[in-house]
Subunit: 193 residues, 2 copies
Amino acid sequence: MTSERTYHHGDLRRTLLAAALDVIAAHGPDSLSLRDLARRVGVSHAAPAHHFKDRTGLLTALAAEGYALFADALADAPGLQERGVAYVRFATRHPAYFQVMFRPELYRADDPALLAAKARATQALRAGIGDLPDAARGEDDRLAGIAAWSLAHGFATLLLTGNLSDALEGRAPETAFRSLTGLIFTTRGGAEG
Amino acid sequence: MTSERTYHHGDLRRTLLAAALDVIAAHGPDSLSLRDLARRVGVSHAAPAHHFKDRTGLLTALAAEGYALFADALADAPGLQERGVAYVRFATRHPAYFQVMFRPELYRADDPALLAAKARATQALRAGIGDLPDAARGEDDRLAGIAAWSLAHGFATLLLTGNLSDALEGRAPETAFRSLTGLIFTTRGGAEG
DNA sequence: TATGGATCTAGTCACTGACAAGATTCAGGG
DNA sequence: CCCTGAATCTTGTCAGTGACTAGATCCATA
């Protein structure tokens, strides 16, 4: 498919997304250029526009994909603590997705596909704090949920920005996060799913 | 000074930084353009280069200033919990500084002035977890320090990206964060400075 | 094999960051 | 008072980018 070049690429959309992930993982979302992407893939500079309309469109597609994968990763994790670990693991394994997802100014936050995937991820994140909807929960449970989210998100973010590299001293991030949460949440018995 | 326009601006450097803060607070660091900045201030498009060399230079200066203000804000806060509240308050009051500070790809992380300011902020952040250096502390204290940092940073980051707007339901962020930390850290007695 | 839609190319425009060369202003010494 | 050097700012230019338009090519299908 990709070896013999024809006029029609075959799966340009998928190829562009993959290339974009590479670039973002290596140099961040800011340095992502549609023209550079087109050059890498070997198409004209305007080809990406047909699949994504514009740069924001491509990043919107990436964010939607990211939220879908994120929801899967969270849903597979048993218990609150392991869901936090899965959160951190996702950030380290898929830094490109993660960075785009949490920079809403990069994409169209009202995109239907993205909203659906994000809702699924939010759902997976909330599960286990209590299976009740937000409104039916106690104030403390809601705050604890925000706390757990903040803890995982802060750890992941600091990690990706290089702010924990010396503090961890070579420890695996996931392991450090697991023992860290154990330290905090054991007294409240928050480790059950 | 600013009313009567002469060839020499008077304090162009300061004026450019202020304008940059406005733009970043309104539209994020990505949309910051040196040429737009020059237009706003009323100088030629190349004038900013003399003070900051390039775009990265301007953002480096902003980050350094931000870390200095951040260190002050943290140092003024009594106790670990209030230091966390100060962390969140800084993020909400100075979103432009905060965003730039925690996106190291935007600036020159090896800049001496920036390193000094950042070291001061790190010092202020660590104070109270234990006045010992990292290496002399117990494993648990070190992890608890990372946890506290992650919690505050995650909360602040989620807040600025709009991810907590519905979860907080109109509550003041600082207040919510205070009760949230109280919920978690009370059992460990981590509220003393 | 003809047709219409999907996919991709080529050309262009305004904008940006970076650089180079020159103009203006200021401070200080003769 | 003028002269000189340094600091500050302007003008001109170049390559790279996102976005848009028109047109070329290919494919399915009838």
